[in-house]
Amino acid sequence: MEDYICNTIAPRVQGDGGWVEFVSYQDHILTLNFRGECSKCTILDRCLDWICQEVKRDLQEEITIHPIRLKPFFWDNK
């Protein structure tokens, strides 16, 4: 899973100014850090659904994603 996130999903997210990092995967719960543009995306849920679909298609695993948004200090105002 870590390899898949780092080498398949992350490059696509990075191509758009976003950033995703693998944190952990346990009991079908995938924890990911979202940084860069992703950290303030208002429709991140749509991307999470997409990642779940990609994982299901490529790794045949049903997962739930626990996202952690890591905003840079200059956007961290709420």
């Binding site: 191509g15 758009d16 100014g17 208002t42 429709i43």
Partner: protein, 982 residues
């Protein structure tokens, strides 16, 4: 007396007008018919117009479906038969999306859809007597829209979009016209740039006009338009002044929040959209820059390129900007900037038969003093660059239309427009431009560019419709839509009233871009000189009968120039852009090494004798420098000559001693601190101390500039400093008869980064070389090394690559205060009349100006736009060099060239070229293959003449022959191009 603020809870009249303006927008589409036969295929771009697909099959696309994926391209095709109800009507295709789409209808490029426009005209593409419509769409979704200033675009951002349906539709044209009336008038009503009484009047009359409309049926639209015509447009009681030239333009970053492969499509969409607007509005003109973008259109969209050529011929589409891309104008060398012009202009000449006489650089982060001469000698008389007026953080740049005098005294016409290069042609923006214009009495018209940009897109129908209404508004400045060259020629040419700015165009902002992504900067420097060597050696081999690899060298140069784009080389981009650039650089180095080849001897490609200590890579050597084994030698090689060098180990170290961190050499007695800093540098020859405080002191500062993280270093960066910790104190690691090497290892307080420093002292050279080997993993930190000099001077002399610039080190006025961080090239020097200290680097550009010296900016660690910016391994060197006299007396520039241009292994004959003190900046085969072209650079501020053994052609930088001579007469900082037959 107490004041109670009244907060209204009911709707104000202005809010009622705003609400109805929104309702009006809803009525623009009068009739619509949904296209239901749509299919989609997802792909991802992996090269220039090269894709991989999730599946070879298309799948149905229905309204409400999610479509697009991160960094994804969608291919959509569809079919619709025009229903009876819409036959013989003016139809549009409409689709609301955040994506950037090129739309083909019935096989023709019909137009573009993007966050800034959601419809295009359908009728021109219908097949006669047919109701059938075939659609092909290539859509590229960006979570960062073309222009973050457009609120509509921001509302719909995101990687995954909901498909809102595609339609053929009929526009309610009278209502649309009224909508545009409201757009322009509401902008004025809300803007503090306009007369308050007029705005009150407008609010009243707009309410009256909208009262005539039934918003259920949209009846009364014509009556409202008629009311506005009579009451507002024909009112001339309110007057303004001013004269503003409006130039259509779209700023297109070759790479930024997107990779350069994506710009192929962005560029095509932008050009397509602008050409369709020209079809719709014959008076519309548009200026598009960067020959590279034309080259890409020609390669990947030949059909559009053929149409573009016609539009250029007709004068509606205007190529601007003589440079190949809009490069950074601080870091590239003089020769790079010349090649930007040469290859840019060559393309324009070849494909369109024109020489563009302007440099169009709206977004660059300041401009080097060497530019006026380069531009002038490249057929460019006009310079346009916006940022100094709108981004300076300390001083208001005092001119907008003016003359710019360069380092050599060359003058060109310059325009720094008062406002941003991206506007949407609103009256408030135009009035603001006029209000801010500082050369009202001398400069003629002021320039306002309009069109969405950063990622292209450009002007919209709305911008043009508004423009057609400006003359009806007496409250607005006079406006005139024109080509860029028309503006420049009419207002600047032969205008003897213009003030002159003599100096660099320093941008008081984005000072971090001299340092961010230091590997890019170092690679760029290295490859600039490798290109020089590759061309020079190719010429020498050609003189011996080997074919000159002109095509390959041109391709290599263009790859370097592309990566000098102002959001690539400065480091202000996302991580994939950095990876692309490094891949390009690695490929470029391989190709250049192949051209340079090898040989049995070491060849000095400099046209001056080489005397200073030099590192020679050699597997048998005992020194490891920048990861390579080798040894230090004193080549004593004549200009453009070969020498044989070989390593013979001599372990006699009697010239060197060290005791309690006090080192003794034939030149110095040096007292170190354990961290490698120098607390005393006593010069034995000159019997003087050079250190005042510390030389070579490493600092780690907090670096939190905010949103413009990669771009900026703030004036208060020294407020918070983190002390570096010493892991291994400085100690002697190696000494032989040539060199002594001391090393220390430090780490940052976070323990995340290790910092090894090697100090090299030499038996027969006054050079003190310092190498830094860093594994860097910091966040929001700036690493600098400072040099507190025991020198009384008020000027820091900095190399520009084509002469030097003197910067004041005091902070008497706000102008010096703002220049706390500047750009240098190979060296800087801080000297008294009798001597000083030079700092020669291999690829560092950011330089802090201090009262008693300088600080070299080494590494940053920002996180926007690139989370990983500068994280990783770094290895870089510089030399500290005490000397007699000033930098010129001490030949610092020549020594810096020697330091940056290593000896190459090549078996070539010494040519009979003698250009005296001038630096042979480049030698190449002319673009037409007829001449050997020599570029000579006077870099020391001297005048003189050189008698040549034969007559040579004189050339401009575009390689046009301008005359013939047997004597080169040069003046300070002059760049001279001559040519010889062979």
């Amino acid at each position: 007396m107490a004041f109670v603020e009244v907060i209204r809870r009911s709707m104000r009249p202005e809010e009622w007008t705003d609400l109805r303006y929104v309702w009006l927008k809803r009525g623009i589409i009068k009739e619509k018919y949904e296209i239901t036969d749509l299919q989609i295929k997802d792909g991802r771009q992996i090269g220039e117009n090269e894709y991989i697909y999730d599946s070879d099959e298309y799948r149905p696309l229905k309204k409400g479906d999610l479509y697009f994926t991160p960094d994804g391209t969608a291919f959509i095709k569809g079919h619709v038969t025009i229903p009876d109800s819409l036959v013989n009507k003016e139809l549009v295709f409409t689709l609301h999306t955040a994506a950037e789409m090129i739309v083909k209808i019935n096989g023709h490029y019909a137009g573009g859809i993007d966050p800034n426009r959601d419809r295009l005209s359908l009728n021109p593409w219908l097949i006669q007597d047919s109701r059938e419509v075939d659609l092909e769409i290539v859509g590229y979704n960006r979570s960062k829209p073309d222009d973050e200033r457009n609120p509509d675009a921001m509302d719909s951002r995101g990687c995954r979009q909901i498909f809102e349906g595609a339609y053929i539709a009929v526009v309610n044209q009278p209502l649309l016209s009224l909508y545009y009336d409201l757009t322009i008038l509401l902008d004025i009503a809300k803007s503090h740039h306009f007369d308050e009484d007029y705005r009150t009047y407008l609010n009243t009359e707009l309410n009256n006009a909208l009262n005539l409309v039934d918003f259920d049926t949209y009846e009364g639209v014509e009556a409202a338009s008629h009311y506005i015509e009579e009451k507002i447009y024909q009112n001339t009681d309110f007057r303004s002044s001013g004269n503003v030239a409006l130039v259509g333009h779209s700023h297109l970053d070759i790479a930024y929040y997107w990779r350069r492969i994506h710009v192929i499509q962005k560029n095509a969409r932008t050009i397509l959209i602008q050409m369709r607007l020209m079809d719709q509005y014959p008076d519309f003109k548009y200026a598009h820059t960067q020959p590279y973008t034309y080259e890409m259109l020609q390669t990947y969209y030949p059909e559009l390129f053929a149409e573009l050529k016609e539009k250029i011929q007709s004068g509606q589409f205007e190529p601007v900007g003589a440079m190949y891309v809009e490069p950074d104008c601080n870091i590239p060398s003089a020769e790079s900037l010349i090649r930007q012009c040469l290859y840019g202009q060559s393309y324009y000449r070849k494909e369109f038969g024109i020489t563009v006489d302007n440099a169009w650089l709206p977004d660059v982060f300041g401009n080097s003093w060497i530019l006026p001469q380069i531009l002038k000698k490249s057929g460019v008389s006009y310079f346009v660059s916006n940022k100094m007026s709108t981004w300076n953080d300390t001083n208001r740049f005092p001119h907008n239309n003016f003359m710019w005098k360069g380092i050599d005294g060359s003058k060109i016409y310059a325009c720094v427009p008062p406002t941003h290069f991206i506007t949407w042609n609103m009256p408030s923006q135009i009035q603001e431009n006029w209000d801010a214009y500082q050369d009202k009495e001398t400069g003629g018209q002021t320039l306002s560019m309009f069109g969405y940009g950063d990622g292209g897109s450009g002007a919209t129908e709305e911008m043009i419709e508004l423009m057609h209404r400006f003359e009806k508004l007496s409250i607005m400045p006079k406006t005139e839509h024109m080509r860029a060259d028309e503006f420049l020629h009419r207002n600047l040419k032969d205008n003897d009233q213009l003030a002159t700015w003599d100096g660099e165009l320093y941008l008081e902002m984005h000072r971090g871009t001299f340092t961010t992504k230091s590997n890019l900067k170092a690679y760029n420097r290295k490859l600039e000189f490798k290109l020089r060597d590759a061309e020079l050696l190719s010429v020498l081999r050609m003189m011996d009968g080997t074919p000159y690899p002109a095509k390959e060298l041109r391709a290599c140069y263009k790859m370097l120039l592309l990566n000098q784009f102002h959001d690539i080389l400065p480091g202000s981009h996302i991580n994939p852009v950095y990876m692309d650039a490094m891949k390009d650089y690695q490929e470029l180095e391989t190709r250049l090494d192949h051209i340079i080849g090898s040989g049995s001897c070491y060849f000095n490609t400099l046209n001056k004798p080489r005397t200073s200590v030099t590192f020679i890579p050699d597997a048998t050597g005992n020194i490891v420098r920048k990861g390579q084994k080798g040894y230090f030698a004193y080549p004593n090689t004549l200009a453009l000559s070969t020498s044989n060098l070989s390593y013979t180990s001599n372990e006699d170290s009697s010239w060197f001693s060290i005791n309690n961190l006090q080192a003794d050499t034939p030149y110095y007695t040096i007292t170190f601190d354990p961290d490698g800093s120098i607390t005393s540098l006593f010069d034995k020859q000159r019997n003087r101390e050079w250190a005042d405080g510390c030389l070579n002191k490493l600092h780690l500062y907090q670096d939190n500039p905010g949103m413009y993280d990669a771009w900026d270093i703030l004036p208060n960066y020294k407020d918070v400093e983190y002390p570096m910790q010493v892991e291994k104190p400085l100690k002697l690691l190696y000494v032989d008869n040539t060199v002594a090497e001391l090393r220390t290892t430090l780490y940052t307080p976070s323990h995340k980064s290790t910092w090894e420093m090697a100090v090299r002292l030499f038996h027969n050279s006054p050079f003190i070389e310092i190498e830094h080997i860093v594994d860097w993993d910091e966040k929001h930190r700036l690493a600098k090394v400072s040099f507190g000099c025991n020198v009384l001077s008020r000027e820091l002399v900095c190399d520009t690559s084509a002469g030097y610039i003197k910067r004041e080190t005091h902070t008497n006025t706000s102008w010096q205060q703002a220049r706390f961080e500047v750009c240098q090239h190979k060296w800087c020097d801080f000297s008294e009349e009798s001597g000083g200290l030079a700092l020669i680097n291999e690829g560092k550009y950011g330089l802090g100006i201090e009262e008693n010296g300088m600080s070299l900016s080494l590494l940053r660690s920002n996180i926007r736009p690139d989370i990983l910016s500068d994280i990783g391994h770094h290895d870089f060197c510089y030399v500290l060099l005490p000397h007699d006299g000033n930098a010129i007396d001490a030949r610092i520039n020549d020594l810096a060239l020697e330091y940056n241009i290593p000896l190459v292994k090549a078996d070539v004959k010494t040519p009979n070229w003698n250009f005296g003190d001038l630096y042979l900046q480049a030698v190449k085969l002319s673009e037409d293959g007829k001449y050997i072209v020599f570029r000579l650079s006077e870099q020391n501020g001297h005048r003189g003449s050189i008698q040549l053994p034969q007559a040579v052609k004189t050339m401009n930088m575009l390689e046009d022959i301008t005359g013939e001579t047997t004597t080169i007469t040069y003046s300070p900082f002059e760049l001279i191009t001559i040519a010889m037959t062979f």
